[in-house]
């Protein structure tokens, strides 16, 4: 059993391993967000993805997101696992679990976690299409880093 509540792994993620971290008597609600590899994006077919992480820093940043959630939502407990390496269609890239006493908070906090992952956690995705590859980042210039640092509440669309 994994010791950490926030971890990067090159092995398949078991949803239960993440959920188990946040189950507790104080909780009545657990929201889980699972990111899976989607085959088609805007008509373009993905064959597989490759994720790379700056693992040590990524785990620290995931933990930081958990702390931010505890500050914002009070009695919340968060666990997050992100996978690296080659992922095929429908494979799980990320699992977030947040437990709270009441359900509204669990939805909000889980949503916050995935948005923050896409802002501050050093993990990169390389698309492998039928006709080429690309590291996904700022191709569409959807991000603007003030002084090269991510803004606290910046929201990036998916």
């Amino acid at each position: 059993m994994m010791e950490k509540d926030f971890w990067i792994t090159d092995q398949p993620i078991e949803i239960n391993d993440v959920v188990e971290k946040v189950v507790r008597p104080e909780a009545g609600a657990i929201n889980t967000f699972i990111g899976t590899v989607r085959e088609f994006t805007k008509g373009k077919r993905t064959l597989y993805l490759e994720y790379q992480a700056y693992a040590a820093m990524a785990e620290k940043k995931l933990e930081e997101i958990g702390q931010e959630i505890s500050e914002k939502w009070g009695d919340a407990k968060t666990a997050i696992a992100h996978r690296t390496g080659r992922l095929d269609i429908s494979d799980i890239a990320v699992v977030i679990a947040v437990s709270t006493p009441h359900r509204k908070d669990s939805f909000e906090a889980s949503r916050y976690a995935i948005e923050r992952i896409k802002e501050i956690v050093p993990i990169w995705k390389k698309e492998h299409w039928e006709d080429g590859t690309l590291w996904i980042g700022d191709q569409k210039e959807t991000k603007s880093y003030e002084e090269n640092r991510p803004a606290k509440e910046e929201i990036i669309n998916d």
């Binding site: 990111g35 994720y51 790379q52 992480a53 700056y54 040590a56 820093m57 990524a58 620290k60 992100h82 890239a93 990320v94 995935i114 992952i117 896409k118 802002e119 501050i120 956690v121 050093p122 993990i123 990169w124 995705k125 390389k126 590291w135 996904i136 980042g137 700022d138 991000k143 880093y145 002084e147 090269n148 640092r149 991510p150 998916d158």
Partner: protein, 77 residues
Amino acid sequence: MIDVLFFAELQETVGQEKVSLQVEGITVKDLKTKWLAEYELDNIESAMVAINEEYAEEDAVIASGDVVAFIPPVSGG
């Protein structure tokens, strides 16, 4: 000596994950413009910088033993 880490497309351009340099007391900006100029990293300006796993500014000074990482726009999740 410092270690400089590259990820994603920067790593592919540099051709390796890590470069060790015999410098200290320089700024992040110096590192990019002087010490890494030879790699012709067009995208380095859109990358964030981390020193010892914490995001850092352009004018941060790099000490001996530091690990400096260039973080292209992230795309996890």
